[in-house]
Structure formats: structure tokens, C-alpha cells
Subunit: 498 residues, 2 copies
């Protein structure tokens, strides 16, 4: 018997978030739950991230009902969620009562493991959420967002892990959302954490597969002592998604490490999602090959395309090279934030502004906030000259406290506002939905009674509208729109008279 | 400085053989050669396998001219080919003179490295070719076809490596065409070879990426001392193809191993092939995810679909499960041949026959030949009862000698026959083309003067033929076949009256 390596499958959350725009309906996951529950996973990530947003925005599905359904269908496996610390699942900092209430309600509705992270790795933004999780008796996982920069050494990350352990987390996650974690750093990082924090500290490694190297990184992390790793059932894996679960299991044969996964069950889940996948073709990511240039540019693909379209809108599409050279300078000025949502957009947009109008001649509100500490603390010192300019632009002072310390109690106000909305059901869960998505919640509450909308399309026969010139049968009188479905992929084709 | 790991890129041969049915035209490779030549590869695999066949069968391209072109365009990098030992690039055993002549001509036309393998791992089938390579002064690489079976231990493969070293090879290739080589066996195998054959014996590892585990296997092989590994430029990689070259380079950072590859040059080649790829959509493999069930079934995907279609043709499509259970028995009876072309087809067809008509009630000629030694020696003893039946069916005796020892000199006859063919150019190269592809060569010689045909299609506008009922404009009178080209992929769509 080798050492046991546990596995978290992200098929119910991050896999479809990464590969099909988070659009998978609950009803398309339900039939696989029995197999997944019997497969022997440590946990199934199934909630949080963008799924909550997608549920109410696109699927007319109550995310809390989704959670309760998973809990019921997965009696033998921990449920797991991703939580953006003080931001919860929304896009601003919430006052502590709201954060605690969210965690309590999630626990009450069936959540077992809370993976809590902050985009800037500012542990102060994790404290309230982690403490709340501990109070519920559920599993509190503190998260390190992995990034590459001149200041992000193994030592720096290990120090963060030590802080998390001091805060009483039940485990530590190394979260590599951009597939930047190479094999050797993976080994060094896990080894470092085990050495400094104690070998009993549970280390959980989350990687995406974008760059093609991270299954090797998982191997190295396991050799260094990683306890749990994240993968995804193969039919929704690879590309910007995750490494295939089946490959991980097979990879370990004979190595002295082994999972307790039942491949027969996983194959059944795989077949289910392979069948479901084509129904979401219109949301599927185009590219499932590898993308390695991010190692040199350190600029994630999504950020790159954002910047390109911003430049083009300004008729300056030819200045991309200058922008690419500006990004590292802006990132340095900002104290090297990891480039993930939202910091990637904030840094990218400022780089575009700098190239178009001169360095910091104009500053976005978000970039000023980042410079002035309103998102939290970055890992390196900020450029004082740029901080000074941010003060001018924003007419705000720099803060060094935890951003949420400046917030006033807001629960009662949120509750009152929610209770005024048509279709609200009077629960704290609805208050939380409104708190996190104030623009989307009103419409969702109103429409909720109509029940879930499945945006997956059934592959069906082609339909054709013939528009011919009556005087000249066989000739086109006007453009014809065809809806052509080939191998389940629907495409609009317009045929116009030549 | 870490230990140098050299890289062979298979982009000019195995990549498009594995992913786009070997259809890439020389003119679509030429623009990338400058980048590839400057990238710092140990070699570029660019000839052999199915490329010779595809050249004359589909592309009206002289394979010898292709080789000379590569030699000219790759002045700084070794050219490399794959050679099926005594079968050359054809489908039968050739007499030694033909084998030697082929090697001489290939060397003369520009080939530097000859990777020589035999489907049964019978080293006697490699001897003539390897000796011929040595005589030309070029690099003779002896190959081990990796497979999994109860008799295929690391020791067995190491013993084969020792035999190859005794035969004077310049290097040893571990060739894993089905992506079965897991990380630990990869480590053990390379380590075993280095220990038993000497650490200076060059070990070259070739893996496909089908099962998703083999980049990890390359890492482990490198840790065990592998000197050269095979990868492919990322825009033609993954799925049944190979691991991306760029990922390999990045993976090694900080590990104490490093390549000498120039990623800038590889990115240029990548962009070129990314641009070319859509033109071959109609030949592109459908599936680029991972396929791990082969580890349990040990039956390659191509063999599976062959057997399925054979069963269906006989109206017995429901008996697949029996056939899958029969395959290991047939393989055992035959002495555990590796399941690669042609042995996979031979074993698979016999398994289908056994299920449909009873064990060995009927035997194919090919299976009899396999049982009687006419392909060479298998790694384990054969079932004597099945051998006895094979004698009955084939009315032939069992042989234990090297199969080619039974062949009579054939060069002069082949030469005479070739010289009678319209369009032959009188060279030994043409004799070899005729020798290996007697059915295809006559047409090719005749048409050669017309020059190469590029079967890649330019993505173009959709064309529509309108077939409407003249009496009822706007209604379909009959089914219409559309050839719809979307993003460069041509698909037939039939629209019938509802």
C-alpha cells in the first residue's frame, strides 16, 4: 500500500466555469451525482465562484436550492465551495456580519468545505470568513493564490501559509488559477509548507491545465507531500480547465502513492458529461490546446484580449507591444498583485491608459483604489509617486487598515431592501443573494417561480427557410439564414445572392 | 547549468500522421523549416511511417524530393526517420538487398537518424537495416516497442536493450505509440537500461499523449537519465498526438534539467502550423481529450473501432463484450505481441472470428502466419494447440528462422518491373517506391509530372445549390445536399422536406 492521495473533483463547479461559461444546469449534473458520490473523492467542489451568479443571471435557478440538492445527492462525499473572502461571491467588500451570515447559511444548507481566498493574498481579507467557518464546525481552508513575480518567492508563500496556520485553518490550498505552477516550484512550495508548518498540515493543490505542465506539477507536489489534489472528470477537462481525474489515477500506479478512487464510477460520470457537453457547445471554450506564453508575459489570456479590444476601440490596435511592456511596470508600481480577477483587469486597463495618454496622466477609479489600499495590502511596496497621484485623482487618503474595517453594519439595511422586492421569500438566503447581486436579484426573485431555464440546446435536425426568387426558381432573391446543426453544434450560416 | 536534455520534434512526421491522417503537404511545412532549424533540436523527425505512402497515394509528391527538400532547409539539425525494420515502409518483409538499398538511398538523399523498429520486438528483423545504417555512417537507433502484458517486465525490455547495444546501435529508443508508458515504468525502464547497458548509452523516449499521463512519464524518464525526448510543436499536439514541446521546455525550469531550445523560434513555427491546421479540418482527428480505458483493456482505440465495425457487418454488434474478453486470450495464445499495426488488427480480427464461430474454428491467413513465425518471434511462447491449428489452416510449417532468410533475391526483378512502368525515372529511388507500394506506384509515376496536390482546403464561403419545387416557390421539392464550410471545416448537410 502506498501513501494515500486524496482527490477533489471540480466537475460540478470550476470545470464548467472554466470550459463552458458556468452555464451547466443543475438537472444536467443530477444524474451523475450517484456515480460521483460513490467514486471515493475527498470532496466535490460544487458551489461558489461564478456558479451563484450564473444561477440567478442565466439559469433562473436558486443557488441555495442547488446547494441543498447536492447535499442530498452526495451523502458520502464532502461538498466544497470557493469563497472570495471578504468579497463573498460578489464584487465588493462586505461588512463582517454579512460575511458571517453567508458562511452560516452556506453551512446550514449543506456546505462542508470552504476554500477561502483573497485576490491580493491579504490574509486580513480572509479572517472573518475563516473564523465564521470555524464557528460552524465545518472545514476551513485557507488559500494561497499562486503567482509569479520578482517578489513572489517560495519563502513568501510559506510565510503566508504560516499565517494561515496561525489563524487556525484546517488545511491550506495552493491555488494556481493561471496554470503557472511549474513542477519544481510545486515541489518546493509543498515541501516548504510541510517543513515550516508541520507535516500534519493538510496541503491541497489546485491547478488549471492551460499551460500543459501542471499534471507534472501535481506529481511533484505529491512527491513533496501534498495530501489532496484537484482534478476534473476527463470529459470536461484540459485547456483552461483542469487535469483529467482518470489520468491522475493512472499516473500514480507503482509510484508509492495512490488514490482511493473507483474508476468504474468515474467512467460513468465521464460518459454522462460527454453526452451533456455538446448541448452547451455555444458556451464551450474554443481552444483546448496549451498556451505557454503566459510564462514569459505573465499576462493571462483573458487580460490580453481585454487590453486588445480596449486599444482597438481607441483606434490604437498597433500599440499592443507597448502595452505589453507597460504591464510589468504597472504591476510593479502596484506592489505586484497576482494577476487574477479583478486585479488583472485593473492593471491591464491602467497599462492601456498609460500607453495612450502617458504614464498615470489618467487613472481609473479602480486603479486608484488598488494603489490606496482599498482592496487590501499587496505583497510588495507600492511606488510612492504613483500613490501620490492616486490620492490626487481619487481625492481619497491611503488606508492601511483592513478595508472592511471602514464599513458600517449593513445587514439590516440589506434585509429591509430585500423584503421590498417582489418575489422575495423572506429568508436570509434571499438577503444574501440581493447583497451580492443587487442588479440581478430583483429580476430573479420576480421570475423564480417559473423554475429553472436550461440554456443547453438539444442537438436537433437542421431547419431551413427557403427564400427564393419566385420569378427565377433556383435563384436566391434575398439572403437566407440557415441554422445548421452539425454534430450537435448549432451555427448560423447566411447565404446571400452573389 | 542543469543537465542538457535534447529534444526531437515530430511536427514534420508523426504529429500530422497522428492528428491529420498524414495529409500535410510539403509546401505547408516549408515556411516553418527556418524556425525549426534555428530552434536547437537534436533532430527533426520528418520522414517514414505513413508519410511516404501518403505522398504517393494522396499528394502526388515524390517522397524522395520531400526528403531532399528537408535536408536543404534544415542545415543545422539532424533529419530523422522511422523505419519498420525488415518491412521498410511497406507491408511485407523485404529481402536484405532491398533493405540495404533503401537505407543507402535514404542516407544519400539526406537522412541522418534512422529509428528502426519491429512490431514484434524481434531484433532479428532490425539487424539488416541497422547494419546498413552503420555502413553509411549515419545514426542507427534501435527501438523497443513498449507494451503492457504479463510477460512484458522491465527486465525483458532491458534485455532487449542489451541485445540492441550488442548489435552496435548508436542509441536506443523506447517507443510508446499507445501512450501506455506510465511515469514509474518510464523511470524504471530508463534506469534499468542505463544500469545494464552503461550510462553512456543514449536513451531516446518517444511517447504519444493519448492517455494524458505521458508528459509526467517524460519527466520521470529524464530524472532516470533519458538523453533525448520526443515532443511536438503545440499547435499540432495532444490527443492521439504528442506532448507539446513548449510545455516540456517550461516544465523543466528549475529542475536541474534543461533543453537548449529557443522558444521564440518554436512560437513562430507554432503560429505557422496553427494557421495551416484549419485547412486540413476534414482530416483532423475528432477527439483531442484523453482516453485512459486502454490501461484496463489494453486495446488501442483504432483496434476497438475495427472490431466493432466487423461485428456490426455481421449483425452481431451486441457481442462486443465477449470480443473484449476474447482479445487477451488470443493475445496470450499468440505469445503476447505488442498491439500495434499490424498485430493489433490480426489479433482483433481473430478475436471477432472466435466469438462468432467458436475458438479457432476459422483462422485468418495473417493470424496463421503470426502463429507460425512468419512475422518473427513473439516475446512469450505460443499456445501449441493453436499453432497446430494454424498449420492445418495455412498448410504451412512453423518457422523459427528470421522470416527474411526465406526470401530470394528480388532487387533485379523489382528493378525490371519498375523500368516498365510509364513515368518511372530510372532511379533506384523509384524501384524502392515500387517495391514498397506496388499498387500505388504505377499511377504515381504516371501522374508525377503534374506536380504535388495540396489536399488542404482554403476556408471559403459557403456554396448552396437551391432545389425548390417550381410550382411552390419556397418549398423544398427534394432533399438538398449542402456542402457547408464553417471556419474552414467542410461538412455535408442534407436538408430534406419535412
Amino acid at each position: 500500500m502506498g501513501r494515500l492521495v486524496e482527490v477533489t473533483d471540480v466537475i460540478l463547479r470550476d470545470a464548467h466555469q472554466s470550459l463552458m461559461a458556468t452555464r451547466m444546469a443543475l438537472e444536467d449534473m443530477v444524474p451523475a451525482c450517484e456515480y460521483l458520490d460513490k467514486a471515493g473523492y475527498w470532496s466535490l467542489e460544487c458551489w461558489g465562484g461564478a456558479t451563484y451568479d450564473a444561477c440567478i443571471r442565466f439559469l433562473n435557478e436558486d443557488p441555495w436550492e442547488r446547494l441543498r440538492t447536492f447535499k442530498k445527492l452526495l451523502p458520502n462525499t464532502r461538498t466544497q465551495m470557493l469563497l472570495r473572502g471578504q468579497n463573498l461571491l460578489g464584487y465588493r467588500h462586505y461588512e463582517d456580519t454579512v460575511v458571517s451570515r453567508f458562511v452560516e447559511k452556506a453551512a446550514e444548507n449543506g456546505m462542508d468545505v470552504f476554500r477561502v481566498f483573497d485576490a491580493l493574498n491579504d490574509v486580513r481579507n480572509l479572517e472573518t470568513a475563516l473564523r465564521a467557518v470555524k464557528r460552524t464546525g465545518k472545514h476551513a481552508q485557507g488559500t494561497i493564490c499562486y503567482t509569479i513575480s520578482p517578489v513572489h518567492t517560495v519563502e513568501k508563500f510559506v510565510t503566508m501559509a504560516q499565517k494561515l496556520v496561525e489563524m487556525g485553518v484546517d488545511s491550506i490550498c495552493i491555488k494556481d488559477m493561471a496554470a503557472l505552477l511549474k513542477p519544481q516550484p510545486a515541489y518546493d512550495l509543498v515541501k516548504g509548507i510541510k517543513e515550516k508548518c508541520g507535516k500534519d498540515v493538510i496541503v491541497h493543490v489546485h491547478v488549471h491545465s492551460t499551460t500543459g505542465v501542471t499534471l507534472v506539477s501535481l506529481m511533484k507536489a505529491i512527491e513533496a507531500g501534498a495530501d489532496i489534489v484537484d482534478t476534473s472528470v476527463s470529459s470536461l477537462s484540459l485547456g483552461p480547465g483542469h487535469n483529467p481525474t482518470e489520468s491522475l489515477v493512472e499516473m500514480l500506479e507503482g509510484t508509492g502513492y495512490e488514490t482511493r478512487l473507483n474508476l468504474e464510477m468515474i467512467y460513468k460520470a465521464r460518459d454522462h458529461f460527454a453526452q451533456i457537453r455538446p448541448r452547451y457547445r455555444e458556451f464551450l471554450t474554443d481552444y483546448t490546446g496549451v498556451e505557454t506564453e503566459i510564462f514569459a508575459s505573465q499576462i493571462p489570456g483573458g487580460m490580453l484580449s481585454n487590453m486588445e479590444s480596449q486599444l482597438k476601440q481607441q483606434g490604437q490596435g498597433d500599440r499592443m507591444k507597448e502595452v505589453l511592456e507597460e504591464v510589468p511596470r504597472v504591476r510593479k508600481a502596484a506592489g505586484y498583485p497576482p494577476l487574477v480577477t479583478p486585479s488583472s483587469q485593473i492593471v491591464g486597463t491602467q497599462a492601456v491608459f498609460n500607453v495612450m495618454m502617458g504614464p498615470y496622466k489618467v487613472m481609473t477609479g479602480e486603479f486608484s483604489d488598488l494603489m490606496l489600499g482599498y482592496y487590501g495590502k499587496t505583497d510588495d511596496e507600492k511606488d510612492p509617486q504613483v500613490v501620490a497621484k492616486a490620492k490626487e485623482f481619487a481625492k481619497k487618503e491611503e488606508i492601511t487598515c483592513r478595508p472592511a474595517d471602514l464599513l458600517k453594519p449593513e445587514w439590516e439595511k440589506l434585509r429591509e431592501e430585500t423584503l421590498k422586492l417582489e418575489g422575495n421569500n423572506g429568508t436570509d438566503e434571499d438577503v444574501l443573494t440581493y447583497a451580492m447581486f443587487p442588479q440581478v436579484a430583483p429580476k430573479f426573485f420576480k421570475e423564480r417561480h417559473k423554475g429553472p431555464v436550461n440554456v443547453g440546446k438539444d442537438p436537433s435536425e437542421p431547419k431551413v427557410t427557403a427564400a427564393v426568387d419566385p420569378g427565377h426558381p433556383g435563384y436566391l432573391a434575398a439572403p437566407i439564414d440557415y441554422e445548421v446543426i452539425i454534430n450537435g453544434k448549432k451555427t448560423k450560416v447566411t447565404v446571400a445572392p452573389a
